[in-house]
Amino acid sequence: MAAPVKSTVDTAMSSVQNLTIGKALNLGLRRAMEADSKVIVMGEDVGKLGGVFRITDGLQKDFGEHRVLDTPLAESGIIGTAVGLAVRGFRPVCEIQFEGFIFPGFDQISSQLAKLHYRTQGKVKVPVVIRVPYGGGIGAVEHHSESPESLFAHTPGLRVVSCSNPVDAYWMLQQAITCDDPVLFFEPKRLYHSGALKAAVDTTATPEPLFASRVLRQGGVDAAATLVTYGPSVKVCLDAATAAAEEGKSLEVIDLRTLSPLDLEPVFESVRRTGRLVAVSEASSESSLTSEIAARVQQECFYSLEAPVLRVTGFDTPYPPSKLEEHFLPDLDRVLHAVDRALAW
């Protein structure tokens, strides 16, 4: 849970602001930095430039160069020094420019960040947040559209979350920063500046808990199937549910929010009613989060399932040239196709 955030700027503003995900993240960061002087932001180009996606825009100007660090160009360095800063008592928020560039930092994440607390029987805490813009759909070149979240979900000791809307973006980021564990914070980059997703963020509201899934769309008593997803695919699934509703099919949509540890209780509960589940993710399917969801749902809901858990995911290929990404990414049609298959099983 986020500590109560004291605002020192914008006090004249209304407590409700209409924000994109990008702006909500920016405001969340600002609030976290105001609330705790130990919160520092570090990464490539996060200072003057405000990050290539402008998520850190204006922070260096207002908080100074010692709290918003344009670091040397090396991800192991960013994460490795963040670990040391955390040991010293700071709460670093690292930005990885694109998810495809997190791999040089994989060792520090896996060997130090994820394990220091366990290794020291809790004596060392490493409250580091690593912000990772991820996912495709932006027509980018190689390494700029991947979905590596499953690798971190498979790594014990890490918490992995992903937001899908401005309200969550605002709160989840602050909650991740106040969390004493390392958090990999996956941000759906193609939705950063989506005007369609703009939402009213009430900065005085009480946020949902960080490590909990949420049912975003109830299917009602006659719900035909459940869709479970996270991050950029949430919008796809919500749109699919809307389309299905027009055809008279009622779908429940669950936003995982926490990818590790998973909070699957709402999914089990839903599947026990609907009997059918489609898990949706842009990541390749093999040994992934959607595999885990299928594995656990088939076990927990064995007698409720009327069709196997189906998955709509990226293929087991590297991310293709982006002229082909419409084929790679789960879209409304592929989701509905899977629902139809499940219903016809």
Partner: protein, 402 residues
């Protein structure tokens, strides 16, 4: 050219120095001057004013560069710049997803690229369109990456030009391995079959662990590898001071191989220094680090907005150091070329750009099945099943829908 060792602070032996203070205004000015001038150790054969400066060390490497050869280098740079500008414009028109401009770095790329021999190998990062051109890779073959129809498709072996590498620093290790292979195959030595490798990376890349490991490996295995660092002063929004206290060519000092700084806007200097370095490598005296001191005259990519982080003054200063202009002046003054030549080159560049444009506008989209090809060299039943399922799903939509 060994240089006196300089620690920025402290000079040991004098007891603890005073606490590192903010720089004085004089120091700031000196620092800025160094930023555009490259310092005392810069090798320069052709000044921005087109004046030829003799160099005892490097002149022997360009004795063959007569007026004709210089006209060739001029033509290379003009064509490359023209193509770069055309691609940049096409991105603005929505024909490319992104473009990575090389504006200002033509001399560094053409000079070093022309220093290579056919059997040498080059490992680029993602901005080396000028090097690609010197390796015979058609500019049109580069466009797929930026139009996002492919990840790069030229025949790397035929051209001696490795695929572009986007993840900063990776290619440095790959190049070190390749150069080790040249050595293991006995291609290093002073006979006529000697080979060498050149590897390109930026100022920002020098911070990456992979670049360090590349230095370690190449040094330990005496690999015939020229590390060619184009210091264009910026890594997106970060100036070189965010990566290093020392001029980057001095990094080599810690590894026991030579590091040199050349004026990266001087095509003749780049040609000479790179030829020297490749020669050293072919003879078994590699590796060598070259820092080409240049400037990124355009944005980092077409998605970047440099006005957020750098002053246009800097750009103005560097305009006076233009790599093409100094060759033009030199050729004109020395009688090495007349106006007809310059006009011809301009006309050729226009045709070159028009062809590129034409090609780009007509590039087909890749077919969906391409997605599943070449994941492995042999078929995989799992992927075959995914392809079949997806293609039949697509077929279910009928022709027009997807």
């Amino acid at each position: 050219m060994p240089s006196p060792e300089q620690w920025t602070r402290p000079e040991p032996g004098a007891g603890p120095a005073a606490t590192a203070a903010e720089p004085t205004p004089e120091q700031v000015i000196a620092g800025l001057r160094a930023t555009t001038e490259g310092g005392a150790e810069l090798t320069q054969l052709l000044t921005p004013e087109g004046e030829r400066i003799p160099s005892a060390m490097f002149d022997p490497y360009v004795t063959d560069v007569d007026a004709e050869a210089l006209r060739g280098l001029y033509r290379d740079m003009v064509l490359v710049r023209r193509a770069d500008r055309e691609a940049n414009a096409m991105q603005r028109q929505g024909q490319l997803g992104i473009w990575v401009p090389l504006l200002g770095q033509e001399a560094a790329q053409v000079g070093s690229g022309r220093a290579l021999q056919a059997r040498d190998m080059a490992f680029p990062s993602y901005r080396e369109h000028g090097v690609a051109y010197t390796r015979g890779v058609d500019f049109r073959e580069l466009l797929g990456i930026f139009r996002c129809t492919d990840h790069g498709g030229w025949d790397f072996q035929r051209h001696g030009f490795h695929p572009y590498t986007i993840v900063i620093g990776n290619q440095v290790l790959n190049a070190a391995g390749y150069a080790m292979g040249q050595k293991f195959e006995g291609k290093v030595g002073d006979d006529d079959n000697a080979e060498a490798t050149i590897c390109y990376f930026g100022d920002g890349a020098t911070s990456q662990g992979d670049v360090h490991e590349g230095f370690v490996w190449a040094a330990v295995y005496d690999a015939p590898l020229v590390f060619f660092c184009q210091n264009n002063q910026w890594a997106i929004s970060e100036p070189t001071e965010r990566q290093s206290r020392l001029p980057l060519y001095q990094r080599a000092r810690g590894y026991g191989f030579p590091g040199l700084r050349v004026d990266g806007n001087d095509v003749l200097g780049c040609l000479a220094v790179t030829r020297w370095a490749l020669d050293e490598c072919r003879r078994g005296n590699g590796p060598v680090l070259i820092e080409a001191f240049t400037y990124r005259m355009d944005a980092h990519t077409t998605t970047d907005d440099p006005s957020r982080y750098r002053l246009s003054d800097e750009l103005e200063v560097w305009k006076h150091k233009d790599p093409i202009e100094r060759v033009r002046v030199h050729l004109a003054r020395s009688g090495g070329a007349d106006q007809t030549f310059f006009d011809d080159v301009d006309a050729e560049a226009d045709r070159f750009a028009a062809e590129l444009r034409d090609f780009c506008f007509n590039m087909p989209d890749p077919p969906p099945e391409r997605l599943f090809e070449n994941v492995y060299s042999e078929p995989s039943p799992v992927l075959d099943a995914q392809r079949e399922e997806y293609l039949s799903y697509l077929a279910g939509f009928g022709a027009g829908e997807h």
